[in-house]
């Protein structure tokens, strides 16, 4: 056996634990779901071929599907830019050279390392309309706060607002991006007489666009798959006001034992994510500035 072949085999053997897990639990279900999406499959009986019937029902007849899709897009359209603005804004503040900045940075990062389920459980209490922290604070100002999670007009916005709690993760990435901006650019702009606002819009933000682009792509993918918080806090309610795409998919799969239908939904979501990501990559030439 040649030395190179041996080396290759050794490498493969060492990554085999991951390979086995990936092939068995990711690649195989992924490929299998393509086939299942063309079948009627209730888990308990063998799948039965139904052609495009699942896709036809989803696209032509399923109002909940349409509602969940629209709701998820709306959520992504608001929550992703909101997280970017908040993340960049806070990163700019945390980039300031002031005493105790390390402590501030830690404080902002801490929420993002708390498990999602724990954070969500705490927010259920914080947003309780009767005994919650938010409404108690509003009450002390003479304002009667809304029923954040149980009023259909507020539930979606409450979840969007709650999303800001985990912005610490992206702050760290933005901070790294800010540190990477060459100081000579600022020096040159100061020499040219640029104000601080001009430096922000002409130097900082353009130089930060690769990082913003990365967070935008990841944010869109994450928002389209939004599930855990809604599952725990609202279970899709009140009414269907927080029935996100992934939540409806989960219900179809596990609550109504309709795996074929759920697989079709999963593939439509995959295509939507792929198309949106492709579209974002197409736009980057116009607004993302790479230092090279």
């Amino acid at each position: 056996m040649k030395a190179q072949t041996r080396r290759d085999l050794l490498g493969l053997a060492f990554i085999s634990p991951w390979m086995v897990g990936f092939l068995a639990f990711t690649a195989w279900p992924f490929l299998r779901s393509i086939q299942l999406s063309f079948t009627r499959y209730d888990i308990l009986r063998p799948p039965k071929w139904v052609g495009l019937a699942n896709y036809q029902s989803l696209l032509a007849d399923d109002e909940t599907f349409r509602h969940a899709t629209w709701l998820t897009l709306k959520f992504a359209a608001v929550s992703v830019p909101l997280a970017i603005v908040a993340g960049v804004g806070l990163a700019l503040l945390l980039n300031a050279n002031v005493k105790g900045i390390a402590v501030y940075r830690t404080i902002f990062f801490l929420p993002s390392i708390v498990p999602t389920v724990a954070t969500t459980a705490i927010f259920v209490w914080i947003l309780n309309p009767q005994i919650g922290l938010v409404n108690s604070l509003l009450g002390s100002l003479g304002i009667q706060g809304p029923a954040w999670l149980t009023d259909p007009n507020w539930a979606l916005w409450s979840l969007m607002m709650m999303g800001l709690w985990g912005v610490g993760n992206s702050i760290v990435i933005y901070l790294a991006g800010l540190k990477d901006i060459p100081t000579y650019l600022y020096e040159a702009s100061i020499v040219d007489g640029a104000s601080s606002v001009q430096r922000l819009f002409k130097v900082t933000l353009p130089m930060l666009t690769p990082v913003i682009f990365f967070n935008l792509v990841m944010g869109v993918i994450g928002a389209l798959q939004y599930f855990t918080q809604a599952y725990i806090m609202t279970s899709g309610g009140p009414g269907d006001s927080t029935r996100f795409y992934a939540l409806y998919l989960f219900d179809r799969a596990w609550r109504y034992s309709d795996m074929g239908y759920a697989s079709a939904m999963a593939w439509l979501l995959f295509l939507a994510v792929a198309l949106l990501t492709f579209g974002l990559f197409k736009t980057q030439k116009r607004w993302v500035h790479y230092a090279s």
Binding site: S16, L44, N128, G239
Partner: protein, 449 residues
């Protein structure tokens, strides 16, 4: 690169595959031996969904069964979260429990998928005669699908009104109302509010739309014709009354009030115990809960009064039932345990279990057991439910394969109506439309209805 390194790498790969295989296929003996008290007996694996104080009751019953005979050992496992999914995965993987206690709407779907054993295949002719002769009508309806019994009830429920007599007396009401209209009228006086108008005690919290409809002569399923019957005028009348009540007390006010209540209904956390409601519709198990956690609470129970011209003693029955998977390893032991717990052949012994759990009896034989009668004397509030469960007017959940969908849709649409977002007429229309669409979808996909 040495040959030794390659050999080591191959051994590592083999090790990984072996570990994966071992986890995926634990040997039967390894599963059975762990934690067993009677290893020489035939194991009967029993899953249930009870937790907290109810799990203790289940463990006592299992313990009693294991001591009552020497052939089987029931091994109980509490699966309080995601039990349905775990059961499906277990059944798919060829490793389901031998018997499972359930209360979710799973029978039609699982029976349709040929996942459950009909009890007719397990009952002897004499047991079948006993079951058909002695059980209350609702017992035979609860676990049936397409004429076969897939769920064997071990504790029934039908809801009634829990109320605080003191609150009624303070409001000048000396007798519990005889009709729905009277109850709704007096409940306004029972509701208390703070200086800002926020509700601090709600006069009456009714049951859900499907639970209340039978009292009005309605219901979601026509058992005579064997089909769903959503758009009947009685169902419309029911939701109209529920919406009118909510509107009177304030949509937003009730929403806020309920959001502030304890979300856990276990132990002493049930809001009625804390005085949040002057009257509330709930199930018979609360009697035992109150006895344990609030023994000094002064309360009474009554049947939910029907409206004028309505159906007395009507309601939506349900309860806990046992299922035996088609692929269970030890069906004989599973059936023996089900018989023991349900009291089919020995109602006197089983009566004690029903007392422990505060569950309604499946037959007069259990209800008239001395220990059960003693329990009712001690907790007269429980007697209300015992009287109710024998009524022929107690309906069961719609026995259709998409029962979960119907229940979810009804709950969601009722919620919208109770918030004032849609009218009662729209609620009925939307529910019918939503269910019709689901039926059409299932037909298009070729599901056997």
């Amino acid at each position: 690169m040495h040959r030794k390194s390659v050999v080591k790498a191959c051994i590592l790969l083999l090790g990984v595959i072996s570990i994966a295989w071992l986890f995926g296929h634990p040997s039967t003996s390894a599963r059975e031996v762990s934690g067993r008290k009677y290893p020489q007996r035939i194991p009967v694996r029993f899953w249930h969904m009870w937790s907290a104080e109810w799990k203790t009751v289940v463990d006592r019953i299992v313990d009693r069964y294991n001591k009552s005979q020497d052939k089987f050992e029931v091994i109980a496992l509490s699966v309080p979260g995601g039990a349905d999914t775990k059961f499906i995965l277990g059944a798919m993987g060829g490793d389901p429990p031998d018997v499972m206690a359930q209360w979710n709407a799973v029978i039609p779907t699982w029976a349709e998928s040929n996942m459950l054993t009909p009890f007719e295949e397990l009952m002897s002719p004499s047991e079948r005669t006993l079951f058909e002769r002695d059980s209350y009508p609702i017992v035979r309806r609860v676990g049936q699908y397409k004429g076969k019994t897939y769920g064997f009830p071990i504790g029934l429920q039908v809801k009634g009104v829990f109320y605080l007599p003191k609150a009624f007396k303070e409001a000048g009401i000396n007798q519990f109302p005889k009709t729905w209209e009277e109850l709704i009228a007096v409940s306004e006086r029972l509701t208390q509010r703070d200086s800002k108008g926020n509700i601090t005690r709600l006069g009456f919290m009714p049951g859900s739309w499907p639970e209340t409809a039978p009292l009005f002569g309605g219901g979601m399923y026509d058992f005579k014709l064997g089909r769903l019957d959503i758009s009947n005028s009685k169902n419309l009348e029911t939701i109209q009354c529920l919406v009118a009540l909510r509107k009177r007390d304030g949509y937003d006010q009730i929403q806020r009030f309920q959001s502030g209540l304890n979300t856990s209904s276990f132990g002493g956390g049930w809001p009625f115990i804390g005085g949040a409601y002057a009257a509330a519709v709930d199930g018979p198990w609360r009697v035992e809960q109150i006895a344990k956690y609030a023994p000094d609470l002064d309360y009474a129970t009554a049947l939910v009064p029907p409206p004028k011209g309505g159906v007395a003693g009507a309601g939506l029955g349900g309860g806990n039932f046992m299922i035996i998977p088609r692929s269970a390893s030890h069906k004989e032991g599973a059936w023996d345990f089900v018989k023991y717990w349900s009291g089919l052949t020995d109602p006197l012994t089983a009566a004690e279990f029903y007392v422990w759990g505060g569950w309604l009896p499946p037959s007069d034989a259990v209800a008239h057991a001395p220990i059960y009668e003693e329990y009712i004397r001690k907790h007269p509030q429980f007697g209300t439910f015992v009287r109710a469960i024998g009524s022929p007017n107690v309906q069961a959940q719609p026995p259709v394969a998409y029962q979960v969908f119907v229940n979810d849709a009804a709950g969601k649409i009722e919620d919208g109506a109770l918030r004032g977002e849609i009218s009662p007429g729209q609620a009925v229309e939307q529910l019918q439309k939503s269910v019709d669409k689901e039926i059409a979808r299932r037909k298009r996909l070729g599901y056997d209805e």
